[in-house]
Every structure is written in C-alpha cells, then in structure tokens.
C-alpha cells in the first residue's frame, strides 16, 4: 500500500510496476484436482426451455472434456472458454456476480491426462487463419482477445493497438511478454494484420522497453510510468490523439494485450492452444512473484504453493489494487484476464466510511478525466444519477479508481460511480426494450 507522501504540494503520484533485469522467472504452478470456468452468461442446463433462441444445450454434468475444448453453454453462444485441462464435468451452476451480472460456473475434475487428451477442433482450421476461426476458437486465450470489434460493420476498425503495458498497478504480465517474447509478439501482430487486413499496428510500451519493442515490426509508442496513463482510454486520447468525444468502443481501434497477441501467434504457428495465464501474485507481506498457471485453477492452489494462509477478514483480490475485484472464497479460479492476485491481511485494509465529502478537492486534482468528483459524489450520494450524468460528466469517468484512493473522507467514490453508471445503463436498456 502506498501512503500519502509527507510533502503534498503536488498531486499524488502512483508509479506502475517496472519489470527489470533482476525479475525472477515465473513459477509454474500445476492444477491439483479441478478447474473452474466462469462463463459470462447464464443458462441453467436443467431447464429445457431456456428460451427459444438459446440454442441447444451443449454440456451437462458427467461429460468428458479435452484440453483446449470449447466450453460454451449452447451451440450458438458467443461467450465461451477453453478448458485448460482434460477431465470430467462434475458440476454446473449459475450465480450472480457484481452489478447483477449472470455467470455460469463449470467445474471440471482433472484427470491428469491433459497432455494426451487434446481437442482437435482448432488444429483442423489453423492452417487457414481467418478472423472467423479466430473468433470461433481463440477468445478464451489468456488475455482474452476480443475479435467481435472486427465484425461491427458500422464502426470499421482502423488500427490494432497492442498493449505492452499493464493497466493496473503491480502487474507486469504484458511487460514480461514484451521483454522476453518480442518475437512471439511480432508473429502475433503479423498474423493479426494478415487476417484483418489492417496494416496499422501500434505497440504501446513503457519507456524502458522502447528499445526492445523496436523489433516487433509495429509502430512503437511509449507511455509514462504514472498511473493511469496506461489506461486504454487515455492511451487513445493522448498517445493516439484520436478525435475527442469518442470512447473506446466507438473509435475503431482494436485493443489486444501483449499476452493475448503472443498466444494468438503461438496458436496459429503450432496448432496448439496455450492456456497458461501469467499472473503476478502478491502475498500479504508484499512479495511479488510471477506465476504461470492454467486458466481455471482455483486460487487455493496458488496460495498452497506459496504457503500463504488466509484468516477471517483477509481480502483476496483478483486484478490490480485500483480496478480489481475482491472475491469471497479462495476457490475462485484464475480467469483469462486475471493479471494479478493480491492477498491482503485484515489489518492492511482501510475501512471506507459514511462521512460526507469535505470538499478537500484531492479527487478533482487526481482525476485524469477532469471530473468534478467533489460535486459528482454529492449527486451520487443523493441518488440523483441523471443529474450526475447531465451536469457532472458521470460518463466521462474512465474508472481508474484514483478518486477513491485519495479521498480524505474515505468515501467509496468509485463504487458509487460504477453503481450509477450501471443503474443508468440498465434503465436505458429497459427503456429501449420497452420501446
């Protein structure tokens, strides 16, 4: 945890983690008994009538799965994951995650035959790389590449941006790939350019990796080391100098993490799907260690590896300290986009409070989006979300979490913002579906 510096004349700074020469090699961790895959969609397999357009249910308990097999709930589902192990499905359940999002959890008992029992689906198509088969087979790769942006005919993609930087603090995943695997990135970038027909590829790296990045073949741009300059929104605005007024989804830019690009390149080159996630594990005492772990592995397996014990009141965080989510159980699995796992001891946790905003203005000074957070929070606390959006730029927020980090009243500002956005968006969705 980074405390306020003694002198406070200038606004507080948070530095990104920098991967250096002395960085230890990742520790490889194996799955012990089972993996879990959380799919971003809820289909209750026990219900036959899951809706007319829900397609046919693909999976049920007791099915055998192979390594690299697509795990989707129905045959027409867009969201799927790739099983990193082979084994037998022992449980399928649905649950509701944060902000009311529905998930299906698929538990697979590992059979220990993962290296033999490999799914051939991708191998059959990898000779002819195309956007369609990339979308069909590769979305579940580490880094969770998203190919859907290329299929939106209203917003043609103009550039591919590879993020060789890590969005949140403490993580070094993408930097690791730039530093150690620049050839694989080149392969991946070339492939992406080929299948998309887009020649404009940009690699974003921290300053110290600029030299290395040169050999990627992509245009190299750097960002500075202060949080949140590696945030995709800010990269778009400041580095890519795209027109103001458009957000990421609208602007015709496809973002890929360096890790995902490596995995895509490797997949087409070898015909094999690489399903190990590179994660920074931060223990209670603050030690950071890169680990390589199959997607779906429960956190408990990693904790066991490092002899870390959890007690009541401790906090387990998936993702970075600024944007991650905390989970209620160590059985939670590593997801394709989990870059960081942080374990916090009970006494490292700062309590949030219910005190009103004292108008100290710290949040306003740190906000990268120039939002008047001190005013915004008043509207949000009063539940006046529409006014917040109209008068106080709610939707300009890029969700960096900095305002909550500095708040002197310790208001959970960031959470209020997310809640407000979610409420307004679901209201809008409800209105549209009614109309």
């Amino acid at each position: 945890m980074i405390k306020r510096s003694f002198f406070g004349l200038v606004k507080p700074k948070l530095q990104y983690e920098i991967i250096d020469e002395a960085q230890a090699e990742p520790v490889s961790i194996k799955t012990s008994k089972q993996i879990m895959l959380y799919i971003d969609q809820s289909v209750d397999p026990s219900l036959e009538n899951a809706g007319e357009n829900a397609g046919n249910v693909l999976l049920k308990t007791g099915d055998q799965v192979k390594t690299g097999q697509k795990i989707a709930m129905t045959d027409d589902a867009a969201d799927y994951l790739l099983s990193s192990q082979s084994g037998q499905i022992s449980k399928i359940s649905t649950f509701v995650g944060i902000m009311g999002k529905n998930y299906t959890s698929v538990t697979i008992d590992v059979d220990g035959e993962s290296s033999q029992n490999v799914d051939e689906g991708f191998k059959n198509v990898c000779q002819a790389p195309s956007l369609e088969n990339a979308r069909e087979f590769l979305t579940g790769l580490p880094g969770q590449p998203d190919f859907n942006v290329f299929f939106d005919s209203e917003k043609p993609v103009k550039a591919i941006v590879v993020l060789g930087v890590d969005d949140d603090l403490l993580s070094t995943t993408n930097q690791y790939f730039v530093k150690n695997n620049i050839i694989a990135i080149k392969t991946g970038v070339d492939l992406l350019c080929k299948i998309t027909g887009i020649s404009n590829a940009i690699l974003i790296v921290p300053q110290h990796l600029e030299q290395v990045a040169g050999s990627s073949g992509a245009v190299v741009k750097t960002v500075d080391s202060e949080y949140p300059s590696a945030h995709p929104e800010l990269i778009m605005r400041h580095i890519l100098a795209s027109e103001d007024g458009e957000s990421k989804s609208k602007s015709g830019i496809a973002f890929f993490s360096a890790e995902a690009v490596c995995a895509i390149g490797a997949a087409y080159n070898t015909g094999k799907l690489f399903l190990e996630k590179l994660v920074t594990f931060v223990s209670k005492d603050g030690n950071k260690q890169l680990v390589s772990v199959p997607i779906g592995t429960p956190l408990q397996d990693i904790l066991n590896e490092f002899n870390e014990t959890l007690n009541d009141g401790d906090r387990v965080i998936l993702g970075g300290p600024m944007q991650g989510i905390s989970v209620f159980s160590a059985d939670y699995p590593v997801l394709p986009d989990t870059d960081t796992i942080i374990i916090q001891d009970k006494n490292q946790i700062t309590e949030r409070s219910d005190i009103a905003c004292i108008n100290c203005g710290e949040c306003v000074r740190v906000c990268p989006a120039n939002i008047q957070v001190n005013q915004l929070i008043r509207f949000l606390e009063a539940g006046q979300y529409e006014e917040a959006a109209d008068q106080n730029d709610l939707f300009s927020c890029i969700e960096c979490g900095f305002c909550s980090y500095v708040c002197e009243s310790r208001i959970p500002v960031f959470q209020h913002i997310k809640l407000a956005k979610h409420t307004l968006e679901s209201m809008k969705a409800a209105e549209e579906s009614n109309a």
């Binding site: 306020r4 401790d314 991650g324 159980s329 700062t350 009103a356 100290c360 989006a369 939002i371 002197e408």
Partner: protein, 319 residues
Amino acid sequence: MHSTLKLTVSHAPFWHNGSSISSKSRNILLASLLAVIPGCYQYGSAAVGVVTLSIASAILWELLINFISRRPISVGDGNAALIGMMFAMMLPATTPWWAVVTGTFFAVVIGKEIFGGIGANPFNPAVLAMTILMLSWGDLFDFNAALLNYQFDFNSVYPLVLSKSFGAPAVESLPLMDLLQGKQIGGIGSTFGIGLILGGVYLMLRGVIRWEISISFLAGIFAAALCFNILNPELYAGPGFHLLTGYTLIGAFFLATEDSSSPVNFIPMLIYGLLGGALTVLIRNIGTHIDGVLYAILIINLVNPIVDKIRPKALGKGV
C-alpha cells in the same frame, strides 16, 4: 467442500493513501499552536482559559447535536476541536465565558451541523460566529478596550484602529519587524506573525491547505493595499502594514482555506483568494468595519459556488 472462511469483500480500489479527516484536523491544530502558544504566553492564563473553553465547548455542542439528531458521534474527526481553536485564535484574551460558549454554539451548531455536518457548511463556521458576536457585543471585541488592563512593552493600540482613525502617518512608526514578532495587540492566535507564517507554510507544504488560496489571498491584499497607498499615501497605509496586522495572516492560512467553503479548481482558487484580499483592504480602507478579513471571507465563501463553476472540460466533452 466450501470453507467457512469469511473473507472481506469490498469495492475497488483496494488501496488508500491513508489520508483522513482526523489527521488533517490534527495537522491544522498542530500548525495553529505555533501562533497560539506565543499568544498564550503574551496574554497569560486568561488566554489559556479562552482557548480551552472554546475547544471544549465546541466539542460539547457537536456532541449535543449528534445526540439530538441521533447521528453517529462525529467529534472524533477533530473538526469541532478545530473550529473551537480557530474561533479562539480570533478572540481577545479577555472574552467572557458566556461569549465564548455562545460563539462556539453559532460556529458549530448554526454554522455547520444544521447544514448536515462536516463538508456541508457554506460559510466558514468560525468566521460566521465571530461576525455574529461582533455585531452584538462589539465592545467585547474592541481590542483597545478589551486589553486595556494589560501592560506591554510596545504600543498597545490596535494598529488597524490607528490607521483607520488617524491615517497612514499614524502607523508609519510601527516597525514591520515588531508586527511580525507579535508586538501588537489582537486576538490570542492572530498576532504572532512568525508562528502563523511557519504554520501556514507547514500546512501548504504538506498539502493540508491549498497553497493557491493562501498565496493569492496575500497577493490580493498586497496589490490592493499598494493601489490605495499609491493613490493617497497620506490616508492609506502600505501593503506591509496590511499584511501583518489584524486577521490577515490567520485569514490567509487558516480561515479562507477552510475546505467546504472554498473552491477546488486552480483558476477559481486564484480568483477566490485575490478577491478576498482585495475586499479586505477595501473594507479596511473605506468600509465601516475596523478589520475587513472576516467579512471578506464571508463574501468569498458566498461567491465560491459560482466561481468554482469555472473548471476544465471533462474528458470527451468538447475541445
């Protein structure tokens, strides 16, 4: 095989820089001691009594209100103590106990709590209370009369009265060094210039107060006093005098910078400070009131919501 472990589940971000309202209050209280201790030394036990009574009664008023409105006890954040301290710093050491208690009532209850507590007060509570009391019991706060029984080794006439009644020549003889060292009469914590400046610089460096406000407030005083002085050197004292007398320094570092009633954006902070400084001198030179700082602060508190609308465009909004 679900474990029964109860993990903490909460929202991002999971780090906090450790700042808190109570640490802010502590820092300001600490800084104020640099001026209050010399003041207590100068005015003796009466001053200590006023300061302690003021702080204690401010805390008690807040407790009482917490109790009546059935809200969580909020005195722990130190803000009530801070208000008590700020109020005491402006008082003459001879203030009777009932005036102190009435004053902290107006500061804490009317000035802050009825608006919903910390962060909601539109005006600086201590300044508000002070002006209300001065309107009613002017003679208690007439420093010349109030401090009549003290013997000092310096000119014991309130400098602002001198300049107001007899013009600039009357105060030419006052060495600025003496004023800086607190060799003037005034409020318990508002005369020892060195202490106030050191405290202010400490607070600015640590980011507890917004330096833009303090600096521009002083700049406003300097500029306005200079203009008046150039216009009519016979009548209007120079900037040095205005900077070091009355409530100028406590106003610039401790009163105008109160969070809730001041702006947070850069340009608004400058306007706010400059306007406050200029108004101070204007009131001192051509208004009724002996010292203009308190009313100037009320006025800038009043324009704060309007001024603070000058702000940078949010990301993605226009050019």
